[in-house]
């Protein structure tokens, strides 16, 4: 954001402007402490999750959260998701999306202010700045100072720390996709997959660049979410609000003494601007640069306390409550702000999807059969008059133990079955297929029906586990045959 002097009236604005470095001042207060807590939790979850172990028996990996792209499996604690069950992941993503709507209509841009990775890492890097270069004023002085060897050394040191954090951040990502301890060993011995090094390199660079240098510009120029949110915010959304009706006309204590009329509460100490991580002046009103982190609330409360005025000149406030306050009416209780139809609707949709997913999770089959009927040719006339159809069966055993399934054709009289691995002469009424643990067995199945029964008919393929645990799985399918035995038709060989 380019802040021009408000007193200027008619000068030409430049087309392009150099970014003004944002060097937020250290601040303490309840919101800052809450932000610390959220940062600690987010970073702990991000760095810690891949290292949780989870015993899944001898046939599956022992990592609690694992996106196993190579084997097309997604493990999340007790839940294992196969590719065809991806709707669970889609459902969780939809919940995350609607959750953002829900949070936005309840508490405004809380995601931006506290939990967004860009916010968390920018915050982390700004702490690094303050630790190495000192607080805001020291940083301003250093920025303006000429490039002496000392400044150069200090900058190199700081950027090395940036790079270290970026590397740890980018490097942690890959542990979600493979067994973390193994991958770490491979990573350091140079034997990990190239994609692991490439991912680490790319994410190290993006963290270094976006967190270390781009910072608030990501939120202001690059991120679509602030635009979506400005469309989603309404008069009931919590925004960080400068209560201008209380603060204006602003003026320092000295100016207040000499003023003809009494001034407002704002002492124009500019602490709200100094602590802002995106470098805006909240007193200009709601704006796209405000991520509602409420650090200015902490700063202003401190300033108000030091001059003996009540806190909350800058505070979370909805537009409706702002108008009530201006009119001198009481602010509505939180309960009333939260229990409004829009929020209840969002919550109902969000919770409904969550409950459906839980229900589906409990009801899903761990043994499935799918049947693809061969259509080219639909049927094969055999020399003895019998007719053969071919099917491709996918038997999915999603449990962590091997199972043997007995395949039978129900409702297909006289049918003899054989597979690719068998001689046609060994065809029989049922076939046993061993399916290894946590895997899919693909079987090409031939069904031969003698001439007497060879006609178009529907039937059911059944796969019954020989351990008799759980129901057999069934699939309706179709047996194709020549139109009629009596009609003249051409069968070629």
């Amino acid at each position: 954001m380019n802040m021009m002097d408000p007193n200027m009236t008619a000068a030409p604005a430049p087309l392009y402007a150099k970014r003004t470095a944002v060097l937020p001042k250290r601040v303490d207060g309840p919101f800052r402490r809450f932000k610390w807590l959220v940062m600690a939790v987010c970073l702990a979850v991000y760095w810690g999750t891949p290292w949780f172990r989870w015993d899944r028996g001898p046939h599956a990996p022992h990592q609690a959260v694992l996106i196993d792209l190579a084997h097309r499996r997604f493990y999340m604690f007790a839940i294992e998701i196969w590719p065809q069950e991806f709707y669970f992941v889609a459902g969780m993503l939809i919940m995350a999306g609607i959750g953002l709507f829900l949070v936005t209509s309840a508490v405004g841009r809380a995601w931006c202010g506290y939990a967004c990775p860009q916010t968390v890492w920018t915050d982390l890097y700004q702490h690094v700045d303050r630790l190495i270069d000192g607080d805001r004023n020291a940083q301003l002085r250093l920025n303006a100072a000429p490039w002496t060897p000392a400044k150069f050394a200090r900058r190199m040191f700081k950027w090395s720390v940036y790079l270290g954090i970026a590397f740890v951040t980018g490097g942690a990502w890959i542990f979600y996709f493979a067994d973390a301890p193994t991958l770490q060993r491979e990573f350091w011995t140079g034997t990990a997959a190239p994609v692991a090094y490439a991912s680490t390199g790319i994410l190290t660079f993006t963290t270094f660049w976006l967190g270390g240098f781009m910072r608030e510009q990501v939120c202001i120029y690059m991120c679509p979410w602030p635009r979506i949110q400005t469309a989603m915010l309404d008069e009931n959304s919590l925004t960080v609000t400068y209560k201008h009706w209380r603060g204006e006309p602003r003026g320092s204590l000295k100016e207040a003494k000499g003023a003809a009329n009494p001034l407002g509460d704002c002492i124009d100490c500019k602490q709200c601007v100094a602590v802002c991580p995106t470098g805006i002046d909240i007193r200009e009103g709601p704006q796209i640069g405000c991520i509602t982190c409420a650090l200015c609330v902490d700063a202003c409360d401190k300033a108000m306390a030091s001059v003996g005025r009540p806190r909350g000149l800058i505070d979370y406030c909805t537009l409706i409550d702002a108008e009530r306050e201006i009119k001198g009416e009481a602010v509505r209780p939180v309960r009333k702000v939260l229990l409004r139809p829009r929020l209840i609707a969002y919550f109902a949709v969000w919770g409904g999807i969550g409950l459906s997913l839980l229900f589906l999770l409990g009801a899903r089959e761990r043994l499935t059969l799918s049947v693809a009927r061969e259509r080219n040719p639909e049927f094969v006339q055999l020399s003895g008059g019998a007719v053969r159809n071919a099917f491709t069966l996918a038997l999915r055993n999603m449990e962590d133990r091997p199972r043997t399934l007995r395949i039978a054709a129900e409702g297909l009289p006289g049918a003899a079955l054989y597979t690719d691995d068998m001689a046609p002469g060994a065809a029989r009424a049922t076939i046993d297929v061993a399916v290894p643990a946590d895997s899919t067995a693909k079987v090409r199945l031939y069904a031969v029906v003698p001439a007497a029964h060879a006609r178009q008919q529907d039937f059911t393929l059944q796969a019954a586990p020989l351990d008799h645990e759980g129901r057999p799985v069934r699939r309706e399918t179709h047996f194709a045959a020549p139109e009629s035995e009596h009609e003249e038709h051409e069968e070629h060989e």
Partner: protein
């Protein structure tokens, strides 16, 4: 990089101190916030990238082609490179298939799977024109899925048929036989042809026996049985189809049979040796054998025709 004079005298937004662009829609106005300067740098960097790209890669359209670029890159060349790379990737598997006798492939499931898939791909390029995408054949072109084989259905026999072709001129090992045109060449009269057809309809269990078929039986024994067998069971050594089954290459109805006996048929398949490399031919044989009608290798001597699936279905 400044506005021209016509932009002077802009209205300044009170809250931000930024000039307004001057448009208004229902009271909504636009601030003339300057773009960040790095954005401009990114733009210049893109231009620099484009200039380098134009020099290195084909870019400028000319009358008949485009400028070639100093790297000499072409999309055809890239495709050729990709294909060569794929071929090199497959070479180890192809070598292994080449080194394994065709009957021994089944003992190595992954190699057999690779051979079947390789054969499937080659079939789609070379064979579907006659045998169809599903290998189900057409009139005059055998269905390769069934259990009826003109020349034999074990791996080695299929491979030999592929290598040397059927009635293919210029290959002295090609499978060869010629049925006389009994009607056209006057060996049988039109009435006799009808009698033979009646007999064939009887032995294929399509019609009940009749006086005509009885006359035909004698004619059949004298003229046809030498190749097709006394009971029409066929003979693979000369590619004579079995006439007693349900499978017809040119049709089993009266008109089709009359045409066949009158004019005879002699289908041709090219010899694939020389057109395809030996490994591809081997993979094609394995693929065709895997379509459901493949037979086991015969015991020492050429075995009698076996129809196990049909037996199972009785």
């Amino acid at each position: 990089m400044t506005h021209d004079s016509s932009h002077h005298g802009k209205v300044i937004d009170h809250a931000t101190g930024t000039a307004k662009v001057g448009h208004e829609w229902d009271g909504i106005e636009e601030l003339d916030t300057p773009l960040p300067r790095w954005w401009l740098w990114t733009f210049y960097a893109s231009i620099a990238f484009a200039l380098v790209y134009v020099v290195l890669y084909p870019a400028i359209p000319m009358l008949h082609s485009a400028s070639t670029g100093t790297l000499g890159w072409t999309s055809r060349g890239a495709l050729a490179g990709d294909l060569a790379h794929e071929k090199a990737e497959h070479q180890a598997v192809r070598n292994a298939i080449a080194a394994t006798p065709i009957e021994a492939l089944a003992a190595n499931p992954s190699l057999q799977r690779a051979a079947i898939e390789g054969g499937r791909a080659a079939f789609k390029v070379n064979c579907v024109q006659c045998h169809g995408a599903g290998a189900a054949g057409a009139k005059g072109y055998p269905n390769l899925n069934d259990d009826d084989w003109l020349w034999g259905g074990d791996l080695d026999t299929i491979q030999q048929t592929l290598i040397n072709g059927i009635r293919y001129p210029g290959n002295d090992q090609t499978r060869s036989s010629l049925m006389p045109s009994f009607g056209r060449d006057g060996i049988l009269t039109a009435a006799q042809v009808q009698d033979v057809v009646s007999h064939v309809r009887v032995i294929s269990k399509q019609d009940p026996a009749s006086a005509a078929s009885a006359r035909g039986a004698v004619l059949f024994a004298n003229n046809c049985a030498v190749c097709h067998g006394a009971n029409g069971e066929g003979n693979r050594s000369v590619g004579a189809p079995r006439l007693s089954d349900k499978i017809w290459l040119y049709g089993g109805d009266r008109a089709a049979l009359t045409n066949t006996v009158t004019n005879a048929h002699a289908g041709v398949m090219p010899a694939w040796t020389g057109r395809l490399d030996p490994v591809t031919i081997k993979m094609l044989a394995v693929y065709v054998h895997s379509l459901g009608g493949g037979e086991a290798a015969p015991a020492p001597a050429p075995a009698a025709p076996a129809t196990p699936a049909a037996g199972a279905a009785q």
